[in-house]
């Protein structure tokens, strides 16, 4: 073809000087004298975009004047309309001309109408309000006695028509199905197809007429009806099985050359029609042996008849192969189809090769041996200069990935990923790599490294499921706790290494993942230690003096990355992964030493899965010649299927040039596990694929297991810490923490004894009993330095009594009083908040007061945009027995900042035969998401300097509070601020807004005035906390 148009000019402006371009017909002549011609020539002569803009603006204003002038004739209007279209094509807004397009279609003679309709179809879309004005015109034209007019109306209807106006034209179009002219019948069928697409219900009653169209004596009408059938069969294949015979007959006639030669395309009979029929047969025969059997003959004939004379026969063959692999399999046909794919794959024409790969990708799961047959071609395509070929090859490899070839395939995918800049490709590929890594990762190190690559490249664009799945995996872990630890340790170590590299920027999402995994920010330790060893003075309360000096420090560099800070320290529970390498305990050389020992220890840990399925030796050999046993096996298969190809392959093997050898090696590592014996497993890939990184199925079990183990870690790190860092308040802290625990356990025990009671009275006596067991720690006189343990313990002990039916793990946290939120004669719903370290846990206790069983009780919380609400599993059996209480737990995480918001929901239950619904709501405040931030004095100093948002305020204290410790006490108790240090008349406190926005408070007492100074990375948080502090201090 190109030879026909090759004459096309290369130098456009030169030709304008001539009178006639390229020998076009009369139409071309006319355009030169027209205004459009002038415009086009003007535009072409311009060199800058700016000039073009100017010219078009002129043109548009002159058009505006012309179309609104009363003297403008319809003929002139038609001319204007063409220029409107041209301006819009250049990307300029000509919307003021739309109404005139409608008018032109309405009022013009046939020629003008034609342009009017064209402009409407180009300018408007289906729900454009102007389109309604066209309906009457269409109705009128459909009723015209003029064939051309009818055809124009039908053409516009099948392109663009308001759905709600279909009834106005439907009867007219139905009539046209009986029209004497085939062109009208054909266009009517296509208009009905359009209606079927946008409003299937409106054309349901004419299905019988579609059948008549299918049997129309005109091929064009019949072919048009196939569009409708393809769509209807796609939606409901079983409803049209009776037509299989008809479709087969039609295809036989087409293939047999029984159609008028008009329908031939390069002497191939009606290729579009053939493809349409092949698709229909594929849909009808899917999973249906009987129907498929009807099609075998004609498919065989189609394959045979498609002589490879023209590209279009490849298009038919491709469709044929697709159909053969879609329907109930017949080995003879499959064999032929496989050979056909071979012709594509081995073709020197790049388009055919691409389709060959596409076909392979489609059939590979059914027939993995095909990949073996073409392995050398696939290897070649992997390094093809055209990225499209490469990408299709990767798609193919993705389908054949297994535990043995994953490393090679993912490596190839990563290579491609690093080369591409297209966002869509990155998102797609990153998703695939993450999926494969999770399924088949050979070991921890590989998994973490691969995921690091995924996050580095795709962090900004990837599907949010990827990081959340990854983090869940780290958090929930596997059956073996030591494995979990190793995986987490490896992850943290790898992040430390990554962050060590200077001048590298990581995507926000990756940094979030890192911070989440290592919530203690241990990757900052190195810096802190370095700073200290270089003689940087540790934090002093008079931070103002240091400000200048320290602001030059690197610590500021971390701020723009938006690192999330969360509470650190050795409790480790703040980090769901349970790994905390870290150390807010810095400040002197002894502690720096401790950290080093810590990290050294971890490096010594062996990081292998040691699980069944992972064979470290085998993995290291991948790509070695010793790994080639699959090859002989493959050769046998190849001989069976296609001897010629085998010989060729063997010849290649014999050549053994260095390059060839490399390819062979690559092949052996790529196609390992694809031999005959693995065929079965590949076929059932979806079912049998063993997820290496499978999450535990029983969530509850995981949870409790994890909790225990974390506690263990906690304890062990505590003991080691207290041995080494035997420094006053740390030791105290440790002991206090233990004290806390004891108290909790104690009160829990007492609760168990008293578990029936739901009394709201704080069990003060119990508290005092508990306190007695560790009197020295909770003596009020011991408060010179610290108050927290006492108050924490007090509040826990006070409220723990209410948690009669809580799961054990929840009792570790502070919680609010139980408040009844709604009730009726049967049930009472009460609620309380548990301020867990990483979220707010809402508990709704449903007490069945009646003597009957409540069936299918559901408690649901309405979603809100500010929170992410997750139901905690394992605590909501649908039946509530008589006179008992059931708890529903929801974890609430803040999504958007807010100050106060109601959380509403309902309880629904069945009793006897009635369904009852009770609604309730509870108020949440930002305070519910404030948690203590346990950092060291030094870290406080560093952070203080890095925060830009601050607020200062003096608050008058009552006399009873005059001493700083007693002034801080309520802040700690009521606002959950963590008291880091009290030095003289100054106090340092820190808290964080979940998930991880830190806020620091410095206070100083002057007589009866408390000077509060807040700083945070968040601009609004200091104001909010100041207000809350004022309330607390003035209120007490």
């Amino acid at each position: 073809m190109s030879d026909i148009v090759e004459k096309t000019l290369t130098a456009l402006p030169g030709l304008f000087l001539q009178n006639q371009p390229g020998g076009g017909p009369a139409a071309a002549k006319a355009s030169f004298s027209s205004r459009l011609g002038g415009l086009v020539r003007g535009i072409t002569a311009l060199t800058s975009k700016h000039e073009e803009e100017k010219l078009i603006q002129q043109e548009l204003s002159s058009l505006k004047a012309t179309v609104s002038a009363p003297t403008t004739t319809l003929k002139m209007m038609k001319e204007c309309m063409v220029r409107f279209i041209y301006c819009e094509m250049l990307g300029y807004d000509a919307s003021f001309g739309y109404i005139h397009a409608i008018k032109l279609a309405q009022q013009g003679n046939l020629l003008e109408k034609r342009v009017g309709y064209l402009a409407v179809s180009l300018f408007l879309h289906e729900s454009h309000e102007l389109l309604l004005l066209l309906v009457n015109t269409v109705v009128k034209d459909l009723q015209s006695t003029n064939l051309v007019e009818v055809c124009m109306a039908l053409t516009v209807v099948s392109q663009i028509f308001p759905r709600e106006m279909i009834p106005a034209v439907l009867p007219l179009i139905e009539d046209k199905l009986q029209h004497s002219k085939e062109i009208v019948r054909r266009k009517a069928v296509l208009a009905l197809y359009k209606f079927y697409l946008i409003a299937p219900n409106q054309v349901q009653h004419i299905h019988i007429k579609f059948r008549r169209a299918l049997c129309d004596r005109d091929v064009g009408v019949m072919a048009a009806s196939l569009h409708i059938y393809l769509r209807m069969i796609k939606e409901n294949p079983s409803g049209y099985k009776d037509l299989t015979g008809s479709f087969v007959t039609i295809l036989k006639q087409v293939v047999g050359g029984k159609l008028p030669v008009d329908f031939n395309y390069h002497s191939v009979p009606a290729p579009w029609l053939q493809i349409q029929l092949l698709r229909i047969l594929g849909l009808l025969g899917k999973d249906d042996q009987r129907t498929s059997e009807l099609t075998y003959d004609v498919l065989d004939e189609s394959l045979r008849r498609a002589e490879l004379s023209h590209n279009v026969t490849y298009a038919i063959l491709f469709e044929c192969v697709h159909t053969i692999y879609s329907i109930y399999p017949k080995s003879e046909l499959l064999e032929k189809a496989a050979k056909c794919i071979g012709k594509f794959v081995l073709s020197p024409k790049i388009n055919l090769k691409y389709l060959g790969l596409k076909a392979l990708t489609y059939v590979i799961q059914q027939d993995p041996t095909l990949a073996l047959q073409h392995q050398m071609t696939i290897i070649e395509c992997l390094d093809h200069p055209d990225p499209i070929i490469k990408r299709e090859t990767l798609e193919l490899l993705y389908r054949i990935t297994n535990a043995q070839n994953i490393t090679v395939i993912v490596q190839k995918m990563l290579e491609y990923l690093h080369q591409t800049k297209e966002e869509y490709v990155i998102v797609n590929l990153v998703g695939k790599i993450a999926e494969l890594a999770e399924k088949y990762a050979p070991d921890n190190a590989w998994f973490i490294q691969t995921m690091n690559a995924v996050f580095s490249v795709g962090g900004d664009v990837m599907h949010p499921d990827i990081p959340s799945n990854f983090l869940r995996l780290l958090a929930e872990g596997f059956d073996d706790e030591t494995e979990n630890q190793q995986l987490r340790l490896y992850a943290v170590q790898s992040y430390l290494t990554l962050l060590d590299v200077e001048n590298v920027f990581y995507p926000q999402r990756f940094l979030q993942v890192m911070s989440w995994v290592d919530a203690s920010l241990s990757f900052l330790d190195g810096f802190v230690a370095e700073g200290l060893s270089q003689g940087v003075a540790p934090y002093k309360p008079h931070h103002q003096r240091q400000e200048e000096k320290l602001s030059q420090e690197k610590v500021l560099n971390f701020e723009p990355y938006g690192l999330s800070f969360s509470s650190s320290g050795f409790t480790g529970r703040q980090s769901p992964a349970g790994v905390s390498l870290g150390s807010d305990i810095s400040g002197n050389s002894a502690e720096t030493g401790l950290k080093e020992t810590n990290s050294l220890k971890m490096e010594g840990i062996k990081k292998l899965w040691g699980k069944e399925g992972y064979l470290p030796k085998k993995e290291s050999k991948t790509g070695d010649e010793s790994e080639t046993p699959p090859i002989p096996q493959e050769s046998i298969i190849m001989e069976n299927v296609d001897q010629a190809i085998t010989k060729k392959d063997q010849a290649q093997v014999l050549t053994q040039s260095k390059e060839e050898k490399e390819k062979q090696l690559l092949a052996s590592s790529l196609f390992v596990g694809l031999g005959t014996d693995s065929t079965i497993s590949l076929l059932g890939k979806a079912d049998t694929a063993s997820h290496k990184f499978r999450k535990k199925s029983k969530v509850k079990e995981t949870k409790s297991g994890e909790t225990t183990s974390i506690h263990n870690i906690t304890c062990s790190s505590f003991s080691s810490l207290s041995n080494v860092a035997y420094e006053g308040h740390y030791y105290l802290n440790t002991l206090q923490d233990r004290g806390d625990k004891e108290i909790k356990t104690n009160s829990l025990n007492s609760e168990l004894l008293d578990s029936e009671s739901l009394t709201e009275l704080p069990l003060v006596e119990k508290l005092s009993n508990c306190s007695l067991s560790t009197p020295s720690l909770f003596d009020d006189n011991n408060m010179e330095i610290f108050h927290p343990p006492q108050s924490t313990a007090a509040s826990v002990a006070k409220e723990i009594s209410l948690a009669s039916s809580l799961l054990e793990e929840t009792t570790d946290y502070m919680h609010s009083n139980l408040i009844e939120v709604c009730n009726n004669e049967t049930v009472s719903v009460s609620s309380y908040k548990i301020w867990k370290d990483d979220c707010l846990l809402m508990i709704w206790s449903v007490t069945n007061k009646s003597g009957l069983e409540l069936k299918s009780a559901i408690l649901e919380i309405f979603p809100t945009e500010n929170f992410k609400i997750t139901e905690q599993p394992g605590c909501c059996l649908p039946v509530i027995e008589a006179e008992s209480t059931k708890n529903f737990q929801y974890s609430v995480q803040m999504e958007k900042s807010f100050t106060e918001e109601n959380l509403s929901g309902f309880l629904n239950y069945h009793m006897v035969d009635n369904s009852v619904q009770l609604e309730f709501s509870i108020n949440l405040s930002l305070l519910d998401f404030i948690r203590p931030l346990k950092i060291s004095t030094e870290d406080f100093g560093k952070l203080w300097l890095s925060f830009a948002n601050d607020v200062k305020q003096n608050v008058k204290m009552s006399e009873s509070q005059a001493a700083l410790p007693s002034a801080l006490k309520p802040l700690q108790q009521k606002l959950r601020l963590h008291v880091i240090d009290v030095i003289g008349n100054e106090g340092l406190l820190a808290c964080q807004l979940l998930p991880s926005i830190p806020c620091l408070l410095h206070c100083r007492v002057h007589a009866d005035v408390l000077a509060l100074w807040f700083r945070s990375s968040c601009p609004t948080l200091p104001d909010y906390l100041l207000y809350q502090c004022q309330k607390v201090i003035e209120g007490s």
Partner: protein, 177 residues
């Protein structure tokens, strides 16, 4: 046209599933758009963005490369005829080769109609190119594979043009003839 979408989103979703062809573009080697036909409602802004991006991608392709492209969630089939690129966006599942033939058939129709078509014919008579396209593809689907009947329909309407000034009754007779 900015308010496009919204209520029609659901419908568009249904249609999208079945629309084999999303749009067809003709543009020159210099990156000038010569013809655009959208078979699925797309906002002006999005159209411009897509056209600009796609032209860039296609023009950067080397001559011996594959005629198919994966672009966004679409498959793009393109072919260059002299100075003009013909470019169709189809669904990934669709048959790329037959789309390439569809482009070719369209070029054949243009060629037959204009008599050795060149880019200038399309620049100055783009409305004719649209008429032919609309007669060949209806809503993105092949309407008629017979070259003869497509051109017959176009010529029938064109005849009216020659008789532009003729009275209406004569035209009607011709239409019926």
């Amino acid at each position: 046209r900015a308010g496009r979408g919204g209520a029609s989103a659901e419908r568009a979703g249904r249609e999208r599933k079945d629309k084999k062809m999303r749009f067809m573009l003709l543009f020159s080697r210099q990156g000038k758009l010569r013809l655009q036909k959208w078979y699925l409602a797309t906002s002006d802004k999005e159209r411009k963005k897509m056209v600009r991006e796609l032209m860039q991608v296609v023009l950067a392709r080397k001559p011996k490369m594959c005629s198919f492209l994966e672009w966004r969630d679409l498959k793009v089939v393109y072919k260059r005829y002299a100075s003009l690129y013909f470019c169709c966006a189809i669904e990934g599942q669709d048959n790329e080769l037959i789309t390439l033939e569809l482009i070719h058939r369209y070029v054949e129709l243009l060629d037959k109609y204009f008599g050795s078509v060149c880019e200038l014919d399309i620049i100055f008579n783009f409305e004719k190119a649209y008429f032919i396209l609309d007669e060949f593809l209806m809503g993105g689907d092949v309407q008629d594979t017979s070259k003869k009947s497509v051109l017959k329909a176009i010529e029938q309407a064109d005849l009216l043009q020659e008789e532009d000034e003729s009275p209406r009754s004569v035209l009607e007779e011709m239409g019926l003839a």
